[in-house]
């Protein structure tokens, strides 16, 4: 063949690093629906950071909020959309939704000295819900970053129990828009696979 034909610059596809994704799925409230949806995550061996499922505004449907660390979330969103019981799928980007999480903590306070704990509670916005003897129950509902701070601070005490819900999410407008990519425009294209030029070594192959 004629090896002289000029070829355009080769394109190589690279995968970016994993990042945290918050996925909201509205689905029919039927046996097996949740199992199918979560199965798509499990299949990829991704760890689910949090999963919250509860009623949505529409009877017979649930809203599921899933937080995962992943690279190619685009593909999983497409496959979620494909499920028969799934009505809508959206990824929530930073700042385009109201995000709330609840944390509950039980702290043991020695000598009945509650002053330091009360100060931390006030600074983090947590509420002291119950004081039984030397154990104090704290509660906070806030955006996940504030909950992170609260958890970090409360660990400085004698923390006996901690429970977090994982975030729930609501958007004022267009709550069930089909898949949108909040990262669109961040890199060369909307797709998680981005394109770059060949390195000299790769060109040599």
């Amino acid at each position: 063949m004629s090896e002289t034909t000029p070829l355009a610059a080769p394109i190589v596809r690279v995968r970016p690093a994993p990042r945290k994704h918050t996925i909201v799925v509205q689905l029919h409230d039927r046996p097996g629906a949740l199992y199918r949806a979560v199965g798509l995550i499990r299949r990829r061996d991704w760890n689910v950071e949090s999963l919250v499922v509860g009623a949505s505004e529409r009877p017979g449907t649930s809203r599921m909020v899933l937080v995962v660390m992943a690279v190619d979330v685009h593909q999983v969103l497409q496959q979620l959309t494909r499920l028969v019981d799934v009505i809508s799928v959206a990824e929530i980007g930073r700042g385009d939704a109201l995000v709330r999480e609840t944390a509950l903590a039980v702290v043991e306070v020695a000598d009945g000295d509650h002053a330091a704990l009360e100060k931390t509670a006030a600074e983090t916005g947590a509420r002291i819900t119950d004081r039984a003897h030397s154990r104090v129950l704290l509660e906070l509902t806030a955006d996940p970053a504030r909950v992170d701070t609260f958890v970090q601070e409360i660990r400085k005490f004698d923390l006996k129990q901690l429970a977090r819900t994982g975030p729930i999410v609501i958007r004022e407008s267009d709550p069930d828009a089909t898949y949108t990519d909040p990262h669109a425009g961040e890199s060369a294209g909307a797709h998680p696979l981005t394109e770059r030029a060949l390195t000299p070594q790769e060109s040599a192959r």
Binding site: L7, A8, P10, G32, Y35, G39, Q75, L83, I87
Partner: protein, 614 residues
């Protein structure tokens, strides 16, 4: 059933008949009867299965519907599942398989997975233990829905007979529309036994499901694709199963001829575009032709219609088609951009897409010298590399070459009536794909995505039932044949005579052995394989068995098989260490192929030790 027919009436008048029919409509019947009637309403005429405890009520009802619903009793549920797949793949209709709970259901898992990977429309019906026993580890209880969630399009656990009409209607709709696939219906024994009055006036409750086959094609990406075609200097069409599933071969030919773009057909696309067409290039990928893979690596526009960039096609995806802009049209939106980033994605049915593309590209005006130059380049490569030839007998070896068997089968096929070829998985599958001419959609049935050994014999059973006027040839290895050959007994019980089985017997699990030879220092671990005398085994099944060791015997045996009615098993004792070339080592670029070192002279390439890297 109606029990109040007037005793005087021997041949009911039309009005009596409609009165009876109205009565039949309102009479109560068991869930099992409703299942049979629901299948018949879906146009099902044949089901493949095996009874057992939890599905017994269904089998109790079946004889009442025997004239409309033919049951093929298989020898293993895996066979029943593959037979239903063979039926579906040969006809395009939804295949149906049936098994009982527990092991009956788990034996169906392999064909369900196979149907999932190859987008085969399949409904699997399984019996389940009584609803009161669900979750209690009852006898033969298995959570088959839980097991099959990742490999089904959808599944239903039916605990109430009233749900059966809707569930069956939804299951067939889901299995056969959009991107087809398997749907499981798991029915508890009590739901099969319960008596209810069926309500056939059902509404499908599938809000979350979109059948992208019937959606209008978005004109914007079609226009964008047409512009890319206008700019392209080295365009290629890559087509797959989607063309066959949507019946788009005529549209594909028209589009290819209008644009002059050469066509590559994937394993599951074989037959979608006639290989004797001047624009046909052949199969790409791991065992594709060198010229096809080279063309992909050099093209500047790759238009993929109805294939999914499987890793056996792309090799190392990062280096696949490195100079190409990619247009990908698929009925499943989740396939677009899954493995290869696309410049233009088109969601929709292949036929509708091709029609839209056809209308969007201008009529050719005179000669397109750029395209002619490109096609000339590809044909130069083809002449250099394509090892296809009628015969590959090697004078220095008396052993029968598997390539010869394929060549003989191919030439005989074109002399006889309509036929379909069912292949299993492994070396013989690739030889058949490479060396036979595929000219007709649905004439090549194989297990692609899942690579299920044992597929061929039962799938041929299903195809033979579906196409009684055609000859169904099975090409299978001695390994795969030993997995499911018991379905020959099913063929006999069904009185089938239109199946011919060619065993490529090399005494190895050949493809694994080939990898061990090429990549693992010839350490043949777990691959040498003995077997029974297949000709005698065939006779034990009551069919003709022939052993073939030479080229001349092969010629005669194939000729006899065509000319004599009845099932025949031909045991081709082929050269034991014959290999499939060319081959792309797994995970490498498809531009990096190994070709057959023994045929190096044909390629006019310098000799090298072992396999030659090009």
């Amino acid at each position: 059933m109606s029990t109040t027919q007037s005793p005087q009436t021997t041949s009911p008048s039309p009005s009596d008949a409609s009165a009876q029919s109205a009565q039949a409509q309102s009479a109560s019947r068991t869930g099992a009867q409703i299942l049979c009637e629901a299948f018949i309403r879906q146009g099902v005429d044949t089901i493949f299965g095996i009874p057992g405890g939890a599905i017994m009520p269904f089998y109790h009802a079946l004889p009442q519907y025997a004239d409309q619903l033919h049951h093929v009793l298989c020898r293993h549920e895996q066979g029943a599942g593959h037979a239903a797949e063979g039926y579906a793949r040969a006809t395009g209709r939804v295949g149906v398989c049936v098994g009982t709970s527990g092991p009956g259901a788990t034996n169906l898992v392999t064909p369900i997975a196979d149907a999932w990977m190859d987008s085969t429309p399949l409904v699997a019906l399984t019996g389940q233990v009584g609803s009161a026993l669900l979750g209690t580890d009852a006898f033969q209880e298995t959570d088959i829905i839980g097991i099959t969630v990742p490999i089904t399009k959808h599944s239903y656990l039916v605990r109430n007979a009233n749900d059966i009409p809707r569930v069956v209607a939804e299951a067939f709709y889901l299995a056969g529309t959009g991107r087809p696939g398997p749907v499981l219906i798991d029915v508890t024994k009590d739901a099969q036994q319960a008596s209810v009055v069926p309500n056939w006036d059902v509404t499908l409750d599938l809000e979350g499901y979109t059948d992208h086959r019937v959606a209008d094609i978005d004109p914007a990406p079609v226009q964008a694709a047409a512009e890319l075609i206008a700019q392209a200097e080295r365009p290629l069409l890559l087509v797959g199963n989607g063309i066959i599933q949507s019946g788009a071969s005529a549209e594909l030919i028209a589009f290819a001829e209008k644009t002059g773009i050469p066509v590559i057909t994937t394993l599951h696309g074989l037959g979608a575009f006639p290989q004797d067409h001047p624009l046909s290039l052949g199969m790409p990928g791991m065992h594709g032709w060198v010229h096809v893979n080279r063309a992909i690596q050099r093209c500047d526009l790759l238009i993929n219609i109805g294939s999914r960039f499987d890793d056996r096609v792309t090799g190392k995806a990062a280096t696949f088609a490195p100079h190409a802009k990619i247009v990908h049209a698929d009925v499943d939106p989740s396939e677009i951009g899954k493995l290869v980033p696309v410049t233009v994605g088109i969601v929709g049915d292949a036929r509708a897409t091709l029609r839209a593309l056809f209308d969007a590209v201008p009529e050719p005006t005179g000669r397109n010298e750029t395209l002619e130059k490109w096609i000339g380049e590809v044909h130069e490569l083809r002449a250099k590399f394509e090892p296809r030839q009628a015969y590959r007998r090697r004078p220095d070896t008396p052993a029968l070459q598997p390539h010869d068997v394929c060549a003989l089968l191919n030439s005989a096929r074109h002399e006889h009536g309509p036929s379909r070829i069912v292949t299993d998985v492994g070396q013989h599958q690739m030889w058949a794909a490479q060396l036979l001419d595929w000219r007709r959609p649905r004439s090549h049935l194989t297990s692609g995505g899942s690579g299920t050994m044992g597929f061929a014999v039962p799938a041929a059973l299903g195809a033979a039932v579906a196409c009684p006027d055609e000859t169904i040839w099975v090409i299978v290895g001695d390994g795969g044949f030993q997995m499911t050959n018991q379905e020959i007994a099913t063929m006999r019980q069904e009185g089938l005579t239109n199946v011919k089985i060619a065993i490529m017997n090399n005494g190895y699990l050949g493809m694994v052995r080939q990898w061990q030879q090429l990549f693992e220092g010839k350490l043949y671990s777990g691959t040498p394989l003995s077997g029974p005398d297949f000709a005698k085994l065939a006779e034990a099944y009551g069919v003709r068995g022939v052993t073939v060791e030479t080229f001349d015997q092969a010629e005669r045996a194939i000729d006899d098989a065509w000319n004599m009615p009845g099932i025949v098993v031909i045991d081709f004792r082929v050269e034991r260490e014959a290999n499939v070339f060319p081959i792309v080592p797994q995970g490498q670029s498809i531009g990096d192929m190994l070709v057959d070192p023994t045929t190096k002279a044909e390629h006019h390439e310098p000799a090298a030790a072992g396999a030659t890297r090009r």
